[in-house]
Amino acid sequence: MKSDDADAEEDAIVAGEAAGIEEEVVRPVAMRLDDVHCHYQVFAQREDSMAARIARGMKNRESRSIHALRGVTLTVREGEALGVVGSNGAGKSTLLRAMSGSLIPTSGEVLVSSQPQKISVAWALNRELTGRRNIELGLLGLGFRPADVSELEESVIEFADIGRFIGMPMKTYSTGMRARLGFAIAAAASPAILLMDEALAVGDRAFRYKCMQRISQLTSEARTVVMASHDVASVKTYCDRALWLEGGTVRALGPAEEVVDEYYAASLEAS
């Protein structure tokens, strides 16, 4: 993971030098999705008579398949911030899971230049442990060595800025505090590709602003950010391009301003 980052950095420098001469240089590919389909297998519990169950062989569950992504093709380049918009259930979270590799597409291909780091509101933190212990655990889980962890820890605490709560179990945290800690941990790792699934939805205005500054800093360092968000204003302001997902298919992909306006108009019409 470390060497990938170094590679990406080196390439970014090369790309940056080239960009100095000619603005319109094509940046290296950070992520490529080719006709990606994702299915979820869902079990529906059946509640019917014993006789019917015996006839079925006692099994009390029935599996159904949900087609969450229906052929998404997309290329994201280094240093790009891509916004993903769409109504609830459009497939935004599934898309980000497929990008991170925590979900294997049923068909199609996802390729990345570096292992993406994904954060979401529901980031897996241990509720019984203090914020500080969770930071240590989170950073070690990202592959840092204990020596680096103690160094990074303070900067994460400073960024999360949740005061004395840092020494209290996470179950005493508000949703916003949890999100702050999650973002602070993931951002500390400075991943080459950062995926954000509504990670800032519950943060307050000041924290969102701080996160957006951090994201701008990441993209200026040729890192790639993909953010799924219902906050269309942020997508417009901070993203270069936007992807409008609906029913698992791409409705529009292009400059953030245009796509977001199109999406916004359509959702107003629908309501």
Partner: protein
């Protein structure tokens, strides 16, 4: 031009790679495994007035209960000298083994959030549980040795054998955990069935009484001997009993070889399964979050 050069670097996210590279990824996360193990213990004892003291109190109390029931009430010692130590060793080795293996094998199925939100190498999840059980085991061992000393079981050279035996037990737990976790994840009903299976193995491990006394002509009974060898933990129960109190009925060394064979087999199978299936775990559980 730079983009075509770059495309050669592209890879599928979260791909496991070869078995050796997978193993080195797990090794790279060894500090995480250690921290996760400690976190489990902290989280479990959170809010208790006596906190981590329960790491010692719990095994101590359970041995007292066993002793009262089996030695004083049922008089089931069957002529074993120092039946209290015999019980303590068997009971604590088995309980720790059972806790580690059950915890590790259900760790993937029970924690869809970590699979959904992280791209962490999956094998470290069950391994964290096994490491947590090892922390508990160190306290268990302390309790066993204290009980031994109190009941006039004086230190002997073979006590040193508990160090390699403890490491061996942890490796066995890791192997079984890695092998069972993908199976439990695939066949969720095993979450209920496995504890019942452990109950059976418990009675086949010679914990509450020397099981060898129940098998007539143990020395000549091939099927009985084979049945005991099929129990992966039997060898460790026997060897700990031998190391601490010199109890050596039932070929502890032969049983140990059987346990070591189980350890190597399950570690190899577990590693291969995790390498092959790295991103495939709990895929249907993810659907709860759609």
């Amino acid at each position: 031009m730079s983009s075509s050069k770059r495309s050669e670097h592209l890879f599928a996210p979260g791909s496991a790679g070869s078995t050796t590279s997978y193993l080195s990824k797990v090794f790279g996360l060894r500090y995480y495994i250690r921290a996760a193990a400690r976190a489990r213990i902290t989280a479990r004892n959170y809010g208790l007035a006596y906190g981590d003291l329960w790491l010692v109190l719990e095994p101590l109390f359970s041995i007292v209960v066993y002793f009262v029931v089996f030695s004083i009430v049922l008089k089931a010692d069957r002529g074993v000298d120092n039946f209290l130590v015999f019980l303590a060793v068997g009971r604590l080795v088995f309980t720790n083994h059972q806790g580690a293996v059950l915890g590790a094998s259900t760790s993937l199925a029970n924690d869809p959030a970590i699979l959904r939100d992280t791209t962490m190498t999956r094998a470290v999840i069950p391994l964290g549980v096994v490491a947590g059980a090892f922390y508990q085991w160190r306290q268990d061992l302390f309790v066993i040795l204290v009980i031994a000393l109190v009941t006039a079981e004086w230190p002997r050279l073979s006590w040193l054998a508990v160090i390699p035996l403890s490491l061996g037990l942890m490796m066995l737990n890791a192997g079984l955990g890695l092998t069972l976790a993908p199976i439990v994840d695939r066949y969720q009903d095993l979450r209920r069935a496995l504890p019942v299976g452990f109950q059976l193995i418990f009675y086949m491990s010679g914990v509450m009484f020397p099981i060898e006394f129940f098998i007539r002509d143990f020395e000549h009974s091939n099927w009985a001997f084979a049945a005991l060898m099929l129990n992966p933990v039997y060898g460790y129960v026997k060897c700990f009993q031998w190391a601490i109190m010199g109890y050596d009925i039932g070929h502890p060394i032969v049983a140990l070889f059987a346990s070591i064979a189980w350890t190597l087999l399950t570690l190899a199978v577990g590693l291969v399964v995790f390498t092959r299936n790295e991103r495939g775990f709990s895929s249907f559980k993810l659907s709860h979050e759609v």
